[in-house]
């Protein structure tokens, strides 16, 4: 009895602050365990492979491969020349090393640069001619290509490895004078437009990956919205990598003439594989006077397994030019996939009063690495840009925001607002912010805000205590964190994006 009493008194002397410290320590342990269990072991549901007869280029990269791709696409001479010029430049360039990601050197000679489902000579003219196996693949991915089954407001271009297999609602769009087709088709049917704009925003020698893309690009989408036309439906491209050891190099070009408006969406998935695959895309946007382009991405390439094996290397150059006065370009991206993401959708604000926007959510789990952000280059007067970047990191992933705001001498009264928030789900991941600001005009105003927070055991327990499971709690908290960006997405995509984060859609009421 005496002993018990003694112990009682001793312990009474432990201060309440010490107890608080111990509670805090215990809470930290619990958070790590719960959030990782809830998010880290998500299954990649899009990892299946379509067994279909394919035609390949032999592995390796040389001028013959470039010629082979061009020949396969029956391209005119000028297109081949452009590719070769890009290829010769690429050979002289070196891979960028300033990126905050680590990966073993890529062997460019072991990859294939072309793979396409075997089909009739000229490719399918209509959906009836498309291999049913391919249609099933897209249906499985949630993208039915039969027009009556599609959400009525969305037209889809489906790109499978190196080729476009189908584009829907083409005729309906043609009634408005809108061109929506694969890049290969555009080279044949609209050579003047392609010649005029291809490479005008991202030149063939812009950077290492853009040069590679210019040499070997396969397919992608081409959009042209004529003067004064407001595109009546969302346009979208769904990119699917299927073949092993094959890179996908798509090229997308969107031109909005004076007063035109278009909203374009892209989605991407790939099978689960143990080896890394290369994806190097280029997207160019041109908005003339009073035109608006809204470009949304839900990127869900295979991220690799939980030990970092496999996954897509995603090296993408996306850039838009507000060429005309009062024009607007808005990028929204939800990046949840890929082993490595290297991507900076940018806007060149050339026209006076033009507006550039960048809204981004980047989620990295396990061994994923993302280095993503934007460049806003202010050239015109009264130009305005907004940057909202949300990074979510878990596991041992590394998540970096890298952004440049550049205000040139003649950009009177330019305005920029940037906000970069990071949310950490654990102790072993990293969130980094690299904002660069260059201002050469004294009448401009540039603001930058940044925060880093950790998902708290307190938040999870609070949800638990109201009947919500830990898994749902993590989703709700992450969803809330990313809400500002999700609300910029078109409705259909917002649903998909939230599902991707394992989040149920927040009702429009309340």
């Amino acid at each position: 009895m005496g002993n018990i009493l003694e112990r009682d008194q001793q312990q009474a002397e432990i201060s309440s602050e010490e107890v608080e410290k111990k509670i805090h320590k215990a809470k930290k342990k619990v958070t790590e365990k719960d959030t990782l269990e809830a998010l880290g072991n998500r299954e990649y549901k899009w990892g299946f492979f379509t067994d279909i007869e394919q035609e390949y280029a032999s592995p390796g990269l040389n001028e013959d491969v470039v010629r082979f791709i061009s020949m396969k696409k029956k391209e005119p001479e000028w297109m081949l020349e452009w590719r070769l010029k890009a290829f010769r430049n690429w050979q002289k360039m070196t891979e960028p090393t300033w990126v905050n990601v680590e990966y073993p050197p890529i062997d460019y000679q072991s990859q294939r640069y072309y793979a396409a489902p075997k089909s009739k000579e000229d490719g399918p003219k209509s959906l009836d001619e498309v291999d049913p196996e391919l249609l099933r693949t897209y249906e499985k991915l949630g993208i039915p290509l039969e027009e009556q089954k599609i959400l009525s407001g969305v037209a889809v271009d489906a790109v499978f490895d190196s080729v476009s297999v189908a584009t829907t609602f083409k005729e309906k769009l043609a009634e408005y004078g809108i061109i929506f087709c694969s890049m290969s088709e555009a080279v044949h049917n609209h050579p003047d437009l392609v010649k005029k704009y291809l490479g005008s925003i991202v030149p063939y020698n812009d950077n290492y990956f853009a040069a590679l893309n210019s040499a070997v690009f396969s397919d992608g989408s081409f959009v042209y919205v004529p003067k004064g036309v407001r595109c009546p439906m969302e346009l979208s491209t769904y990119f699917r990598i299927n073949s092993e050891n094959t890179g996908q190099f798509e090229r997308t070009l969107i031109v909005a003439e004076e007063g035109a408006y278009v909203s374009y969406l892209e989605g991407c998935t790939a099978p689960k594989r143990d080896t890394h695959q290369l994806h190097a895309a280029v997207v160019e946007l041109i908005a003339l006077d009073d035109a608006q382009i809204k470009y949304s991405t839900v990127q869900n390439w295979y991220p690799g397994d939980k030990d970092g094996k496999g996954g897509i290397y995603n090296f993408v150059t996306k850039r838009g030019k507000c060429a005309g006065v009062n024009s607007k370009i808005s990028w929204t991206q939800v990046e949840t996939g890929s082993a490595i993401t290297w991507k900076y959708p940018s806007v060149i604000l050339q026209g006076d009063n033009s507006v550039g926007e960048f809204y981004s959510v980047a989620l990295t789990m396990n061994h994923q690495q993302a280095d993503t952000g934007t460049k806003m280059v202010h050239l015109g007067k009264n130009t305005k840009s907004t940057i909202v970047a949300k990074g979510i990191a878990g596991g041992v992933s590394q998540n970096s925001y890298r952004g440049l705001v550049k205000v040139m001498k003649n950009a009177e009264n330019a305005r920029n607002f940037s906000q970069c928030d990071s949310l950490l789900l654990g102790d072993r991941c990293g969130a980094h912010t690299f904002p660069y600001i260059e201002v050469k005009n004294t009448s401009s105003q540039v603001e930058h805000e940044a925060t880093t927070s950790k998902i708290g055991e307190d938040q999870i327990f609070y949800c638990n205590q109201r009947g919500i499971s830990t898994e749902d709690a993590v989703s709700i908290i992450v969803n809330g964190f990313a809400k500002e960006v999700f609300k910029e997405l078109p409705m259909e995509f917002a649903v998909e994006a939230q599902k991707l984060l394992g989040v149920s859609l927040e009702g429009s009421v309340g």
Binding site: I23, Q459, C463, N464, Q465, D472, N479
Partner: protein
């Protein structure tokens, strides 16, 4: 409804509760009082299921079930509710969505149909009106930018919506001025009924002027050292915890001598 037997609880190797016994029936309001570090908040948190604490001995039975065997979300669905001392902020998630999710989980658990957004809105607006809470609060992010008083009122609103069988108010009075305290106490009183048990955890007697408990227990150094009716609160107010502590030590010493 709730039976706690010989409950021993540790955190990171330090024992905080050292054999707590407590018996609570439906319709009763119990106040648990004690100085800082006495373990009263620990008791509230262990009942609600926070797993940073290690229960080393003892048991808690709730409606005949082993409460300690249930996950915190399961306890909530079974009707255990805790009003937090420090309500947590969840940016970007509206109060209304948060509560709808919680309520629907509880309803699903009991085999009831879930409420859709429109039905829920009607339901929660009624509850808010009953507690004099302006509807604007429903559309704001959970507790984000709320004043201390608003946070506590939000807890009471949640209690009204989730309709628990057992509600624990963990230092609900802390940080409230007298007006806010009255509003919160008024809310709790409106939610008192014969099917619901309420535990009020508090340091001060003043809350008990507004919410009159059926029983009061004094927790000291991890043990309930004294239980009584509401008179005990006045005794405490007069004597202070130090006197009670002194009384307790002398009883213990005597006990030791007799052994």
């Amino acid at each position: 409804m709730l039976e706690i037997k010989n409950l021993h609880v540790e955190v990171e190797g330090t024992e905080i509760l050292k054999g707590v016994n407590l018996n609570i029936k439906a319709g009763e309001v119990h106040a648990i009082m004690g100085p800082n570090g006495s373990g009263k908040s620990t008791l509230a948190q262990v009942i609600s299921g926070r797993d940073v604490y290690d229960v080393t001995n003892g048991e808690i039975s709730y409606l005949g079930k082993d409460l300690l065997d249930m996950e915190p979300d399961e306890r909530a669905r079974e009707g255990v509710f805790m009003a937090f001392q420090y309500p947590v902020e969840i940016p970007g998630v509206t109060n209304s969505y948060f509560l709808k999710t919680g309520l629907n989980e509880i309803r699903k658990h009991h085999g009831l149909e879930t409420l859709d957004a429109a039905d829920f809105l009607k339901f929660i607006k009624e509850k808010a009106k009953l507690l004099d809470i302006e509807p604007d609060m429903l559309n704001r992010s959970v507790n984000e930018g709320f004043s201390g008083g608003e946070k506590k009122r939000n807890e009471i609103l949640q209690m009204a919506v989730l309709e628990p069988k057992l509600a624990i108010m963990d230092e609900t009075d802390s940080g409230l001025d007298i007006d806010a305290l009255r509003i919160v106490a008024d809310g709790v009183n409106r939610l008192r009924n014969e099917d619901r048990a309420i535990i009020i955890v508090t340091h001060y007697q003043r809350l008990l002027n507004y919410i009159v408990p059926d029983y009061i227990h004094i927790l000291l150094n991890g043990k309930i050292v004294k239980s009584g009716d509401k008179q005990l609160a006045f005794e405490l107010e007069e004597k202070g915890y130090d006197q009670i502590k002194a009384d307790y030590s002398s009883i213990k010493t005597k006990l030791e001598e007799t052994v």
